[in-house]
Symmetry: C2
């Protein structure tokens, strides 16, 4: 297995673009990543592509072949789907193919287009990531599922309302320094807690955004990268993939996600690192409680202490402990589902290149991405560092 690195990144600004096509967003972000890598597209050997649900939302499948058409290439393409973890999983599968020596240089991208649809249709499409027969079909969609998880967390570890609010405030504040963020405006405690009620204990400010957008990376065997890349080469030093069942009813626990624990264990082992070595992490925050639970499952904080850690400022950009979601996260940067995992990687690469401007994590050396699908039925964790 060869070492694999990221040599190019590109993404659209995240937002509501009901009039932009899938093709338009693919072209912008894909071209940006290829340009950022400083290579000609003729160097690409395959495309791994991630999209969650353009089939339901846009009537469009077979999107690997569409990416070929948009970018003017005729490469082998693979679409990967694992709900909200689709982007990270496409990246991981591409890594496996490059590490195995099947390809040297691969484009990995993702897109989602949602805001042209009515809210009910978006809700139905997102609910396809749940066990539809036992959940969505009886009215339990994701805000309800994660609200149950939050209430269970409160029951086991005490009320985390203040910490959830702190997550929202922090992620929005971080997003205000991210030019690609969908909601780059700071929010106050009052605004979060008095927001429109979604599912108790969530207000609308506990929920991630409905977002259109695309994100791409160019990855490469590290040895080859050294002959191709113009800029800093950021190496993938750890990668782990965990799986679990789809329904909430079949989980052993609601307050720890076994797929995250497994993916993180594998990624840390491969990187020969511990959670304490991580400087910054893009952590899946589909809801504020999810970030708190994930920060524990990733080993940054002991189980049950993630809420207090946020209140103590340990997840802030300048904390010196672990900066969580400097991009603003799914909460405030946005959640273009099929592109989300790749946008997380975009942020980590930007940070490790020291290109993150007002949201730069000081002295960032080790960055991690964490991405779950559905009720943590899928989890992918990747760890990055500048190549030696």
């Amino acid at each position: 297995m060869r070492s694999v690195s990221v040599i190019g990144i590109g993404e659209t600004k995240m937002g509501r673009y009901p009039d932009r096509s899938l093709q338009d967003m693919i072209l912008e972000a894909g071209s940006a990543a290829i340009a950022d890598a400083g290579i000609d597209k003729s160097k690409l050997e395959a495309i791994y592509f991630s999209n969650f649900n353009a089939q339901q939302l846009c009537g469009q499948g077979h999107m690997g072949a569409m990416v070929n058409e948009v970018l003017g290439v005729t490469l082998p393409t693979i679409r990967v789907e694992a709900a909200c973890a689709s982007g990270s999983l496409a990246f991981r599968e591409a890594y496996v193919a490059v590490a195995a020596g099947i390809y040297d240089v691969v484009l990995v991208g993702g897109v989602e287009k949602m805001t042209h649809c009515a809210t009910e249709k978006v809700t139905e499409a997102i609910a396809s990531a749940s066990d539809v027969a036992s959940e969505a079909a009886i009215g339990v969609t994701f805000p309800g599922i994660f609200a149950m998880i939050a209430n269970r967390y409160f029951h086991e570890f005490g009320n985390a309302r203040d910490a959830m609010t702190a997550v929202a405030i922090q992620n929005h504040a971080n997003a205000s320094h991210n030019p690609d963020a969908q909601m780059p405006k700071p929010v106050t405690k009052e605004k979060v807690e008095e927001g429109f009620k979604i599912a108790d204990p969530f207000t609308v400010f506990d929920c991630s955004l409905v977002t259109d957008g695309a994100a791409f990376t160019v990855i490469c065997a590290t040895d080859v990268a050294k002959t191709l890349a113009k800029g800093k080469i950021i190496e993938l030093i750890g990668s782990g993939h965990g799986g679990n069942t789809i329904s909430i009813a079949s989980k052993d626990s609601l307050t720890t996600f076994a797929a995250t624990v497994e993916a993180a264990k594998k990624a840390y082992a491969m990187a020969c690192l511990t959670p304490a070595d991580v400087d910054l992490a893009e952590v899946h925050d589909c809801f504020t409680i999810t970030q708190i639970i994930n920060s524990e499952d990733l080993g940054f904080f002991k189980k049950g202490t993630g809420a207090q850690a946020v209140l103590d400022g340990k997840t802030a950009i300048n904390s010196g402990v672990v900066a969580i979601n400097p991009s603003g996260g799914l909460k405030a940067k946005g959640h273009p589902i099929g592109a989300t995992g790749l946008s997380q990687i975009f942020e980590v690469i930007t940070q490790l290149r020291s290109d993150a401007g007002g949201r730069q994590v000081p002295g960032a050396k080790i960055g991690l991405t964490h991405n779950i699908g559905g009720t943590a039925g899928t989890c992918v964790v990747n760890i990055f560092r500048e190549a030696e």
Copy 2:
């Protein structure tokens, strides 16, 4: 890269099962493959899963996690989608992961559930494999696209109506010996040519079936297979993946599929074989003309001579040249889209085990599967032989 083999296969009977759930078909075919491998499910390390469009047809995505739930495991899962080539591509990605040493034993499966929906909805869902904006949106769905291809083939190489009829007759005759076939009844020349007109020159008997069904395989590093498997070990000796654009308007040719040529070239090179070495092939026959064109692009017959080859009996089970679609193909065995590529592999493994009964290809040593997605925007070719 390690050698990889198939040690278990399972599939449902193909058919119209509007009352069977996705879960029910996954359980039947997945359990059958694990039982056929003679292993306990605890030996499985990951699941690669293929589904084309349950998102549009059933409102269900994130099907990797669903397979975990159905089979009672909590493995890393990956859903792959590439239109009608989804199954073969999931198989190929699983092969890459095992060959790379990421996993030793992997379950690969696929499912599709279509017949519970109205015809218009099925047509719309299948059309998502085309370039919706330039094709389906103006009324050009796949029968129309492949009818244009057939007419162009007629223009370049002469009228192939008789050969298309011969393909339909042969595939239905083969299916009559396949207990898993959806339409196991022979058809006559008159029945084919006087069938309901779909898109000139196609009658309904030129078109593959709308099918519910599931198919699974268990794959394994060949070295490990020798310690695990109870039965014959069938090795994957060649695998190729080709890509192209999604729309018909962007193709250089309508009568040769560049993605097939590329995938076949790679697969033959890896296997160190030529087309003449292949004893049987499951060839993508979404329409009768498609089988003829593909038989040329796979190198079995020179361009423009595939039609005459069928009329000369060269593709028959006992021809001694190359037996094409002994299973009955998509045409008569059925086309459960996400499961189709894996059902093709099911047939080739069955043949190479000499377990194919009345449709057994005499002395079959080398078997090939060929699977395209959309208008050949994706193609995967795999070649198998009994392990030494």
